[in-house]
Amino acid sequence: DVKVTQSSRYLVKRTGEKVFLECVQDMDHENMFWYRQDPGLGLRLIYFSYDVKMKEKGDIPEGYSVSREKKERFSLILESASTNQTSMYLCASRGGGKETQYFGPGTRLLVL
């Protein structure tokens, strides 16, 4: 079974703080993704990485950056958190030539 883990389930931060969300997958998948989920908006892609040290912007990259130094780990960084970044953040991985993405449990971030 594919396992995708995220560093925190719940996080509370202050406006202006730098926030790190970490994601680790154990299936040697090449591709990793960060989404945010908001009510009525579905899942929106923030960034993805198709290989180590490679990254591509998704649909809503503004205010975010990412880092992928190792194949199994993909980090999402909020350089200066704002209240409109309060959301559920979901990490996913994909590999082995298959289309299916496998998701982690999510991090619910509240920015005050």
């Binding site: 993704f33 198709y50 979901l90 289309e99 299916t100 998701f103 449990p105 999510g106």
Partner: protein, 113 residues
């Protein structure tokens, strides 16, 4: 422009009956489709998928139908169970080496005991 649409935000079904969740898409390049199920405060779980070369795929109580000419797919759950109550997301991939999935906004299914 929303390329994958789930026009019903919610659906209520009696336990034991059939649940039908619908999804429409506009991009004719999409050639692989997936359904995910999501419980509150959890990540989406992959449920079932279908390639554009097929029109039906079955897995236990779950069947996905694809009508390419209508750009429409549906997920049938028979019989529906209370544990099926969740948000269901339809997703599509254009293939040709694309990494991305495009998701619909989801349909919240409530199965009433």
């Amino acid at each position: 422009d929303q390329q994958v649409k789930q026009n019903s935000p919610s659906l209520s079904v009696q336990e034991g009956r059939i649940s039908i969740l619908n999804c429409d898409y506009t991009n004719s390049m999409f050639d692989y489709f997936l359904w995910y199920k999501k419980y509150p405060a959890e990540g989406p779980t992959f449920l079932i998928s279908i390639s554009s070369i097929k029109d039906k795929n079955e897995d236990g109580r779950f069947t996905v139908f694809l009508n390419k000419s209508a750009k429409h797919l549906s997920l049938h759950i028979v019989p529906s169970q209370p544990g099926d109550s969740a948000v269901y997301f339809c997703a599509a991939n254009p293939g040709a080496g694309s990494y991305q999935l495009t998701f619909g906004k989801g349909t919240k299914l409530s199965v009433i005991p």
